[in-house]
Symmetry: C2
Subunit: 224 residues, 2 copies
Amino acid sequence: MSRHLMTQFDTDLQEIRTMLLEMGGKVEKMITDAMKSLVERDSLLAMTTIDYDHEINRLEVEIDERCLEVLALRQPTARDLRFVTLALKIVTDLERIGDQCRNIAKRAQELNELPPLKPYIDLPRMASIAANMVTEALDAFVRGDDQLAYAVCRRDDEVDLLNEQIQRELLTYMIEDSASITRGIKITAIAKCLERVADHATNVAEMVIFMVKGKDIRHLGCDA
Amino acid sequence: MSRHLMTQFDTDLQEIRTMLLEMGGKVEKMITDAMKSLVERDSLLAMTTIDYDHEINRLEVEIDERCLEVLALRQPTARDLRFVTLALKIVTDLERIGDQCRNIAKRAQELNELPPLKPYIDLPRMASIAANMVTEALDAFVRGDDQLAYAVCRRDDEVDLLNEQIQRELLTYMIEDSASITRGIKITAIAKCLERVADHATNVAEMVIFMVKGKDIRHLGCDA
């Protein structure tokens, strides 16, 4: 391979990295905005967030196409091949996080039409951890940093615990006052969406660990 | 490309198809077994199902590696490249379905230690639809059949409705008798797992539609 081709190839990989980070940044914003539309009862922001999912979907198609081009034209092997195919998988997780944010914003719209049930305290915490996990999982990918990826995996337990706590607390509300059931179910659904966002970030982190460490570590998960 | 290489390449693609269908068959069995371990209160089967997840994980790594080999050695382009990269994405969905089944089996073990709350009627229906969706989504992939893929997407609504119905029904139980809360939450979690299985099947079906129809249809979902 000529020096020229090597350089062009490096540029291609760098471009994929940049596109993924851009998509990650937009997904992170979507998580934050979806939560803000709920906490601040801002249904206009909820609508903007729902619309914004198109932008995430557009980026998914664009990055996918770029990866396919690189595979077809540059025919990468070994580590580079793993990088590009992993980028293809990661972009799917990012797109699905976008779907979860759209779901959160839809529930927020519905909840904003009803009287407030209680102040949101744990949900914004959960959202902020989940958004952070997404950013760090992507950083771990572009840097090939398995230690950071392990750290992301460990935070997933924190999110799961918060989710369980929220579920139990809302159940108490719903048992005490059946008028709160509709709202309770909607808030429960939002917590589940955030749990899934964190799951996607964890999935990305696990794939990064596999990319860095090789196949033996895969499916040993974060305890390894 | 020589005739010999063409033939070898066709064999490679056929092998990936066969491996994916094998993995799909095993995932379908895992869904069925996880549900059976709950309905028949068979904790031994639940344990076997949890263990079986290793087999699914092994297949994921194996198919991934095979796809990478084909990409590196055969350097497919156009439609074949799309097929292989899509196989890489689908295998991730199948593996995550395995994770959901493991979660169901774990909850089944816990529920089998407690007195029965109510007969399971909607959950096995949900499981059977979800298992069927997985099989059909894979069939749609290997045959490149977008009509079948659309049919899979449409069934997702059925699963979502069943899930909502189960959530509401269990809530009624939990409100009427607080002694049922622990069991109610566990059964609710199982319904959620099945909903996620169906979501993964739908994701696969949507990607198949994209593969067959091209990018314009993507993210228009199943209404297109």
